[in-house]
C-alpha cells in the first residue's frame, strides 16, 4: 500500500484544475453550440478551439516541469470513494496531439461546413460542429480518467459522438455503415462493462492506481482483462474485428474521417495501454501479450494487402488505417523487458506512442487532401487521378508527405516510430516481428506509390477543377503532414515526456512477475468500506 499513499498523499496537485478545464471547456462549447444554434454555433466552436489548444499546451508544460503526473480529485474526494483525473506523460502527449488535430479539422471544416447563406441554420453543419466538440471532450476524458467505470462512460460518449459523424450526409450506405459501426461498438462496450463488474467484484475498487496495488494473477483478473481487451479491440478495429471501419471511415465527410481515423480509434487503444501497462503490467511478461501482437501482425498484412486492391482513394486510406493500427499492438510483447532490457522496453513504449501520434497527424492530413482531390475531380477513383498533381500541387504534396510518414521513410515521425520498434524487437530477440514490419513497410510503399504515381503523372490536357479549392484548406492538410514529418526531427530526449508518471509500473515490471501486495486478500470487501470496520 506504499504506492497508494505516495500517489494520493497530497490532494490535487498544482495545476490540477487544468485537467477539469480540458474536459469542461469542450463540453461547455458543445452545449453552447447546441443551445445557440445557427451561425453562433460555428463561432462558438471556432472560439473554443484555440482555448482548448492552449489548455493542452499548459498541461504538457505542467507535466514536463513538475516531472510527475498532474492529479485532480473531483469535489475534493480522494479515491476509492471519489474520482480522480490524472495526467501522466502519455495523457499529456495524446491531449496535445488531439488538440492540434481537432484545431486543424476545425480550420479545414470552416469551408466544408459553413452555415449556408440565406438560411439561419442547417442540420449537417450544426451537428458537425457540436459533435466536433463532443468528440474532443470525450477523448480528453479518456486520456485523463483514472477510474475504469469513468473511462467506460468516456468511451461511450466517444462512440455516441463518433457514430453520427459517419452518416452526416444521410445517404443510405453511410447510414448502414454507421449502424454497423454502432453494433460493433455496443458489443465492445458491454464486454468492457462486464470486465469492469468482475474487477470490482474481485478487488473492490476501480481506480487504476489502487487496482494496480491489489490485483493478482488469478482467474477473475484474467477473465476480466480478456473481456475488456476484446471489447476495446472491437472499438479500435484491430484485425479481425475491423470489418466496420472501411465503410464507416471512407463514407464519412473528409473532415469527419480525419477525426475518426486519426483520433477516435486511438481512444480505445489508449485504454488497452492503460489496462495492460498500468493496471496489470505483469501481464506483459506472459504469452497473452504475444496474442495481441499476433493480431497486430495480422492487421498489418491483411490491411496492407486489401489497401493495395482498392479502387477508391478513401477506401485505400481506410484500409491503410487498419494496417497502421497493427503496428501499435506490436509494442505489447516488446515492452515487457526485464531489467536487462529496460532500454528495449522504453523504446517499444516510445515507438508505439510515436506511431500513434504520427499516424494521427498523417492520416488526418491524408483524408483532408483526399477530400480536396475528390471535390476538385468529382470522384476519388485512383485509376483516374492522372493530372491532379498539376491541378492541386500543394494537396498532392501534403498527401505525399503524409505517405512518407506512413511508409516509414526518414525523416518522418513514422520512421522514428518504426525504428524504435525495430530496435526493441532486436533487443527483445523476437526477430519475427521485424519481418512483419519490413513487409508491412514494403506493402505501404506499394499502395502509396500506386496513388502518387497516378496523381503526379501529367494529363494529356490540364484538368479543370469542378469547384475551386481554397488555398487555406490545402495549407491545413499540408501543416498536419509537416507535423507528422517534423516529429522525426525532434530530439529523442523530448519523448522522455512519455515516461513521466509511469515509474511505478516500470519498476513493477522490472522487479517481479507480479506485484507483491502487502494487504491480505481483501476480496469481496469494497475498498471504500474496508476502513470502516
Amino acid at each position: 500500500m506504499m504506492s497508494d499513499s505516495a500517489a494520493f498523499s497530497g490532494a490535487t496537485t498544482p495545476g490540477g484544475f487544468l485537467l477539469v478545464l480540458a474536459v469542461g471547456v469542450p463540453t461547455a462549447g458543445m452545449l453552447l453550440s447546441l443551445a445557440l444554434g445557427g451561425r453562433l454555433a460555428v463561432r462558438t466552436a471556432l472560439f473554443i478551439l484555440p482555448v482548448g489548444l492552449g489548455l493542452a499546451f499548459a498541461i504538457v508544460i505542467g507535466v514536463w516541469r513538475s516531472g510527475g503526473p498532474l492529479v485532480y480529485f473531483l469535489g475534493g474526494w480522494a479515491p476509492p470513494l471519489g474520482l480522480a483525473l490524472r495526467a501522466d506523460g502519455l495523457s499529456a502527449a495524446m491531449l496535445l496531439t488531439t488538440a492540434i488535430v481537432v484545431c486543424a479539422t476545425g480550420l479545414y471544416a470552416r469551408a466544408a461546413f459553413p452555415m449556408p447563406p440565406g438560411v439561419s441554420e442547417a442540420r449537417a453543419p450544426l451537428v458537425f460542429w457540436v459533435l466536433l466538440m463532443a468528440v474532443w471532450a470525450a477523448l480528453n476524458l479518456v486520456f485523463l480518467g483514472d477510474d475504469l467505470f469513468n473511462l467506460y462512460v468516456a468511451l461511450e460518449l466517444l462512440t455516441f459522438a463518433a457514430v453520427p459523424l459517419v452518416c452526416l450526409d444521410g445517404r443510405a450506405e453511410t447510414l448502414a455503415a454507421a449502424l454497423r459501426y454502432l453494433l460493433f461498438a455496443l458489443l465492445g462496450s458491454v464486454l468492457y462493462l462486464l470486465g469492469t463488474a468482475l474487477l470490482y467484484g474481485g478487488y473492490g475498487t476501480l481506480d487504476i492506481f489502487l487496482l494496480f496495488g491489489r490485483i493478482r494473477p488469478e482467474l477473475v483478473a484474467f477473465i476480466a482483462v480478456g473481456l475488456m481487451t476484446t471489447g476495446l479491440l472491437a472499438k479500435t478495429a484491430l484485425f479481425p474485428l475491423h470489418l466496420w471501419l472501411p465503410p464507416a471511415h471512407a463514407g464519412a465527410p473528409p473532415a469527419a474521417s480525419a477525426m475518426l481515423s486519426g483520433l477516435v480509434v486511438k481512444g480505445s487503444f489508449f485504454l488497452v495501454v492503460r489496462l495492460w501497462f498500468d493496471v496489470m503490467p505483469w501481464l506483459l511478461n506472459q504469452a497473452a501479450s504475444q496474442i495481441l501482437s499476433t493480431l497486430g501482425a495480422g492487421a498489418i498484412l491483411v490491411g496492407s494487402v486489401l489497401a493495395l486492391r482498392q479502387a477508391r482513394l478513401k477506401l485505400l486510406i481506410a484500409y491503410s488505417t487498419i494496417a497502421q493500427i497493427g503496428y501499435l499492438f506490436l509494442m505489447f510483447p516488446l515492452a515487457s523487458g526485464s531489467t536487462s532490457a529496460q532500454f528495449g522496453s522504453n523504446a517499444a513504449l516510445t515507438g508505439g506512442f510515436l506511431q500513434a501520434i504520427s499516424h494521427a497527424f498523417a492520416k488526418a492530413a491524408m483524408f483532408m487532401s483526399a477530400g480536396l482531390m475528390a471535390e476538385a475531380l468529382g470522384h476519388d477513383r485512383i485509376a483516374e487521378l492522372r493530372g491532379v498533381g498539376q491541378m492541386l500541387p500543394v494537396t498532392v504534396f501534403a498527401f505525399g508527405a503524409a505517405a512518407l510518414s506512413l511508409i516509414g521513410l526518414p525523416p518522418s515521425g513514422g520512421f522514428v516510430a518504426k525504428w524504435l520498434l525495430l530496435t526493441a524487437v532486436i533487443t527483445a530477440g523476437q526477430w519475427w516481428w521485424a519481418l512483419v514490419m519490413l513487409v508491412g513497410g514494403l506493402l505501404a510503399g506499394g499502395y502509396m506509390f500506386r496513388v502518387l504515381a497516378r496523381a503526379m503523372a501529367n494529363a494529356a490536357e490540364p484538368l479543370i477543377p469542378r469547384m475551386s479549392v481554397p488555398r487555406s484548406r490545402e495549407l491545413v492538410a499540408l501543416a498536419l503532414a509537416l507535423c507528422s514529418m517534423l516529429l522525426g526531427l525532434i530530439p529523442l530526449r523530448a519523448f522522455d515526456l512519455l515516461r513521466i508518471g509511469r515509474q511505478h509500473a516500470s519498476q513493477a515490471i522490472a522487479k517481479s512477475p507480479c506485484p507483491i501486495s502487502a494487504a491480505p486478500n481483501a476480496a469481496f470487501v469494497p475498498l471504500h468500506l474496508a476502513g470502516s470496520r
Partner: protein
C-alpha cells in the same frame, strides 16, 4: 443456494444468451435486442456484487448500485441511437438489413430469409 449465487447464475445465463444473439443474428433489430439482454445480465451482476459487498454489515454496497444507474442510462441512449439509425435506414431504403449494400469484405454474411416475417 444463496440468493446472491442464484442471481449470479441468472446473470451469467443472460450474458450468454445475449452474446449468442448478438453474434449470430444478422438482423440489426435482433442484435439491438440481444445487446439489451446482455446489458441486463451485466447490470444484474452489478447487483449481485453490491449484495456480496454488503457482508460488512451494510444493506448493500452503494457503489455498484450507482454504477448500474449510469450503465442503464448509457445502454438506454445507445439503444435509442441504434433504433433511430435503423428507422432512418428503413425510411431511406425500405430495408432493415445491413447486407445488400455491404462492402465486399462482409459479404460472407448473406441475407437470410427470416422464417418469422
Amino acid at each position: 443456494m444463496s440468493a446472491a449465487t442464484l442471481f449470479g447464475v441468472c446473470s451469467a445465463a443472460l450474458v450468454g444468451l445475449g452474446l449468442y444473439g448478438l453474434i449470430i443474428h444478422p438482423q440489426p433489430l435482433r442484435k439491438i435486442l440481444a445487446f439489451n439482454l446482455l446489458g441486463s445480465g451485466v447490470f444484474l451482476l452489478f447487483g449481485v456484487i453490491a449484495r456480496r459487498g454488503a457482508a460488512s454489515g451494510l444493506g448493500g454496497d452503494p457503489v455498484p448500485q450507482a454504477l448500474v444507474i449510469t450503465g442503464i442510462v448509457v445502454a438506454f441512449s445507445a439503444t435509442a441511437l441504434a433504433v433511430a439509425l435503423l428507422l432512418r435506414l428503413f425510411h431511406e431504403t425500405g430495408r432493415t438489413t445491413l447486407n445488400a449494400d455491404a462492402p465486399k469484405n462482409s459479404s460472407d454474411n448473406p441475407p437470410r430469409k427470416s422464417p418469422d416475417s
